[in-house]
Every structure is written in structure tokens, then in C-alpha cells.
């Protein structure tokens, strides 16, 4: 073979590659717009790791919107349940604890028809559900427990979530501890406001008196000591606008992995 033919070939290759690259970029643009429209872009999509986060969140939203976290048999419950390390709890918590949490309130506001504050007794008056699911920490450890509580969707129905709502932001009594989930997780039947564990009330070490359980995501989304929730269509106004305290501390907002 003579030289010119191979040069032609490489020129043809170059043109083909150019067209493919242009199509690829245009395709990415269209994909980005579609993903934004269908809520497949996580709030921490900017920055160095935005591409990976978006791919994970978008693909799992398409794959897992209605799937159920694995549930286990009673014999698989970890004994003893593992209480992770707790920071010093604020004085406000200690005062409420001294009163047997009778004055504990969960307030819900934002894009809801009837903002309200619920006592633990009110939450317990709703039909209670239980699930035996795993808490999986991003560090690597895990445990299985029976969680007793009311599905978050039931409480959200009670306050009347407006149709444009896209996220539920939730806050712990521990300062700087707040998270958010999209409506697919918020309305998921396994997303619980848990007040009980293994047939008893929820121990403080495991987030008592009230913890949100999001069993399809890592443990840090299951925030302990929940006191406040806000329903919103936009996470930009919360903290640094990355969706929750986790991305501000360097951890991904979506923790389904």
C-alpha cells in the first residue's frame, strides 16, 4: 500500500471523528435539558464530580423509582443494635428529654396547604407501620433493625403537599444537620418517620425520639432527632444551595450510590 491512501484514510477518520464529537456534544446538551426537565439532575451537579453524581442519580431514578429496599426476617435483626457515635446534644434536646419528649414537635411548612406542628402522640395516632431494614453507613458498617413509625407520605398527605413540590428538606435538632430528598423518596412507602425500634421506643443513640428513615439511601440521609421539615420546589435557597449539609461537608447529596 502506498502512503497517500493511508493519509486519505486518516483524513477520513479525522472528519468522521469530528462529526461524531460534534454529535456527541449536541447529544449531551439535549440529554442535559431532558434530565433537568424530568428531575434527574441532583443539586450538587456542579463542580468536579457533577458528571458522576448526575449519572448515578439519573440512572437510579429511572431504575429505582418504585423499587423497595430489601426487608429482612426478624432473626436477622442485629443484636445489640449499633448506636453510632453521637456529638454532644444541644441543651434544648436535654430539656425535651427531661420532659419525656412530651413537648417534641415536628413542624412542616413550605409548599403545603396546611402547615402544622405534630407532637409524637399525634404521629403515633396515625396508623403505624414497621419494616425490618438495614442501616448502611458510608464508612462501611451496617446493622439491621425493625423500625416502627408512620410513613412520611401519610403525614405529607395530612398537610397537603402542593403539586409543584419537588423536595422535602428536613432538619435535626442538632445544629447544622439537615438533609433533603426528592418526592420519589419522600412519598416512597418505606420512607418512615420512625419513633420505635425493635418493639420499643426509639433509643436516643439511634435517633430517638424521631428519626427519618430512608432505607434506599445510605445512613446519613436517615437524619436523627427530626424537628422541622420544609417542602419546596427549589433547593437553591437552603444553605449553600447544594441540597443538604452533606455536599457542604464534601459528601454527595444523593446517597443511593
Amino acid at each position: 500500500m502506498s502512503e497517500p491512501s493511508s493519509r486519505d484514510l486518516s483524513r477520513r477518520k479525522l472528519i468522521t471523528t469530528g462529526i461524531a464529537a460534534a454529535a456527541g456534544v449536541a447529544g449531551l446538551g439535549v440529554a442535559a435539558r431532558l434530565a433537568q426537565k424530568h428531575g434527574l439532575v441532583p443539586p450538587d451537579h456542579g463542580g468536579l464530580y457533577g458528571l458522576g453524581e448526575t449519572l448515578t442519580y439519573a440512572s437510579q431514578r429511572l431504575l429505582t423509582r418504585h423499587s423497595f429496599a430489601r426487608e429482612f426476617s426478624r432473626s436477622q435483626i442485629s443484636k445489640p443494635p449499633f448506636p453510632n457515635e453521637l456529638g454532644p446534644l444541644p441543651d434544648q434536646f436535654k430539656r425535651l428529654q427531661a420532659g419525656g419528649f412530651a413537648d417534641w414537635r415536628l413542624s412542616i411548612d413550605g409548599m403545603v396547604a396546611r402547615p402544622a406542628a405534630f407532637s409524637l402522640d399525634q404521629l403515633k395516632s396515625y396508623p403505624s407501620r414497621s419494616q425490618i431494614t438495614m442501616v448502611q453507613c458510608e464508612e462501611g458498617w451496617s446493622y439491621i433493625a425493625e423500625w416502627i413509625g408512620v410513613p412520611l407520605s401519610h403525614v405529607l398527605d395530612a398537610v397537603g403537599v402542593l403539586p409543584q413540590a419537588r423536595y422535602v428538606v428536613y432538619f435535626s435538632i442538632e445544629p447544622f444537620w439537615w438533609e433533603s430528598i426528592d418526592m420519589a423518596d419522600a412519598l416512597h412507602p418505606q420512607t418512615f418517620l420512625a419513633y420505635g425500634m425493635n418493639g420499643d421506643s426509639l433509643p436516643v443513640g439511634n435517633g430517638g425520639p424521631l428519626r427519618l428513615r430512608v432505607p434506599r439511601q445510605l445512613g446519613y440521609k436517615s437524619v436523627k432527632f427530626i424537628t422541622h421539615m420544609t417542602v419546596t420546589d427549589n433547593l437553591k435557597g437552603f444553605g449553600k444551595g447544594l441540597g443538604s449539609a452533606s455536599p457542604e461537608a464534601g459528601y454527595s447529596w444523593y446517597a443511593g450510590i
Binding site: M1, S6, Y49, T64, S78, E139, S142, Y251
Partner: protein, 276 residues
């Protein structure tokens, strides 16, 4: 221009590789562009995954079998290293800085890049015949004596023959196929089996492995196997001749085999992607 300038010196100082200095002969490719590009992307991904993976393990260097495991449960084994979390009983009096956040971001993003790179490579490998022609051991090589001879020459770190610069030997073929079709799929599977959201959609992914902690332990062992492969791979490149192998994988060029060696004469220079 620079090519022609270097012809005289190359020809005068290194007569053995004289043919490589003649442009017409060096156009031919030892490794196709796609193999070279995916090889180096994979290399970068491998190191990013390894470093971030080590950082992730440091936050809890304890391993378990079954569904669950934590500081209160017995371990399968512990790594004798300090941890980046103070709750882990390691026996060390200090705690390493927490690097888990960016490590996880990097680990999962790199996994995506590697997945796409791997898919591209595997599709190319089947379509172009790369697997069939270059990696599947030829029938004649598949005998115990041939295998034993290959093992023995490897164990003696024998420098490979010149012809081997243009094709893979039996052990290479077997180990590359094992890495591509066993270790990489298994490391992806065991990784996905740790994802609570993924296994909510595909519970068999973790159930088949015996539980989430089993998946984590297996992920660790497959990673070790991949690191072991990398070490042997790099040692073998040094044994075979570091610069010639690096040049072949970077530029695609390799020294033309002398007359009488196995290179097929009918292959047109410049168009052949792979040696048949």
C-alpha cells in the same frame, strides 16, 4: 521533519532497530488507536479507583461476612492499619484525617468513566475481531506442555523473543481475558451490590453474594487481585523491554520483525489494526 532529522543518528547508533527509523515501515500499528486510548484511560481510572478505594476502606478497615457488620460484631478479618474514624477499635492511639467525601465522589465518577471505556473496548473487541485474533489462545497453544513451557519461561524472567513484540503469548492471553471478562465484571458487580438503591431494584445482585458485607469483602479481594495483576503486568513490561512496550502502547509503533518471523507480509502497512 524531526523524523527525517533523526534517521541518521538512529541508523548509526542502533543498527538492530534500523527498520523502525524508516517511516514507511513504522506506520504499521502494533496496537490499534482504540486499544491504546482505552488502555491509558483504564490506567488512569485504575489509579483513581485504587487511591479513593483505599481512602474509603480506611474509614472502616474491618471486614465481615453476611449481611451486616459493625464495631459490635465479630470480624472476618481486620486490616492492621489506623482508621479515619475514632469509633473504630484499631489499637492505634490516633485517627487519620477523614478523606471519605471526595474519595467517594471520585470513586463513583471514575467507575462511570471506566464502565463506558470498558463497554467501548469490549464492543470494539468483538466487532473488530480483536478478542478472537489477539486474545483468544490459538488452538495449538492450548496444551499442557505449551502452558508449562510458558509458565517456566515467565518464572525465569526470560526476555521474550522478538516475535512476541507483535503478539501476545499464552499466559498473557489467558490473564488479559481473565481480567477483562472475570475480574472487571466481578468488581463492578460486587460494587453495585453495595448500593442500597441498586439492590432495591435488583436484590439478586447482593443476595447471590451472601449479603451486603460479603459483597464489600469480595469487592476488596477482587481489587487485590486486580492490583496483583497490575504488579505482574508492570514487572513483565520491564522484563520484555520497558521502552519498546511503552512505545507500542503509546504510539502504536513497534520494531518490525526481521524476515522469517511471524509478521504476515500480505497485511497492508498503515491499514492493519492488529496482527492476525
Amino acid at each position: 521533519m524531526s523524523d527525517s532529522a533523526c534517521v541518521p543518528s538512529a541508523a548509526s547508533t542502533t543498527p538492530a532497530t534500523v527498520s523502525t527509523a524508516i517511516p514507511a515501515k513504522t506506520v504499521s500499528s502494533r496496537h490499534s488507536a482504540l486499544v491504546r486510548v482505552t488502555h491509558w484511560i483504564t490506567t488512569l481510572c485504575f489509579f483513581a479507583l485504587l487511591i479513593s478505594g483505599i481512602e474509603i476502606v480506611i474509614s472502616h478497615p474491618r471486614f465481615y461476612w453476611g449481611e451486616t457488620g459493625n464495631n459490635l460484631t465479630p470480624t472476618l478479618f481486620k486490616l492492621p492499619i489506623p482508621a479515619s474514624r475514632n469509633l473504630v477499635p484499631t489499637g492505634y492511639g490516633y485517627v487519620l484525617p477523614d478523606q471519605n467525601g471526595w474519595s467517594r465522589y471520585l470513586h463513583f465518577q471514575t467507575a462511570w468513566v471506566l464502565l463506558f471505556t470498558g463497554l467501548l473496548y469490549v464492543i470494539f473487541g468483538f466487532v473488530s475481531g480483536h478478542f478472537r485474533k489477539n486474545l483468544l489462545p490459538p488452538g495449538t497453544d492450548l496444551s499442557w506442555p505449551a502452558f508449562a513451557a510458558e509458565c517456566s519461561s515467565h518464572l525465569r524472567f526470560k526476555r521474550p523473543s522478538e516475535a512476541e513484540a507483535w503478539s501476545y503469548n499464552l499466559l498473557q492471553r489467558i490473564s488479559y481475558l481473565f481480567v477483562i471478562f472475570v475480574l472487571f465484571p466481578f468488581v463492578i458487580w460486587t460494587g453495585l451490590a453495595m448500593s442500597p438503591a441498586f439492590v432495591s431494584a435488583v436484590p439478586a445482585a447482593v443476595n447471590l453474594l451472601g449479603g451486603q458485607q460479603s459483597a464489600r469483602t469480595l469487592h476488596f479481594f477482587v481489587s487485590l487481585a486486580l492490583v496483583l495483576f497490575l504488579l505482574v503486568h508492570v514487572v513483565m513490561i520491564f522484563v520484555a523491554g520497558f521502552w519498546s512496550r511503552m512505545r507500542a502502547m503509546i504510539t502504536g509503533r513497534a520494531a518490525e520483525p526481521r524476515a522469517g518471523t511471524t509478521r504476515t507480509a500480505t497485511t497492508p502497512a498503515g491499514t492493519d489494526m492488529e496482527r492476525p
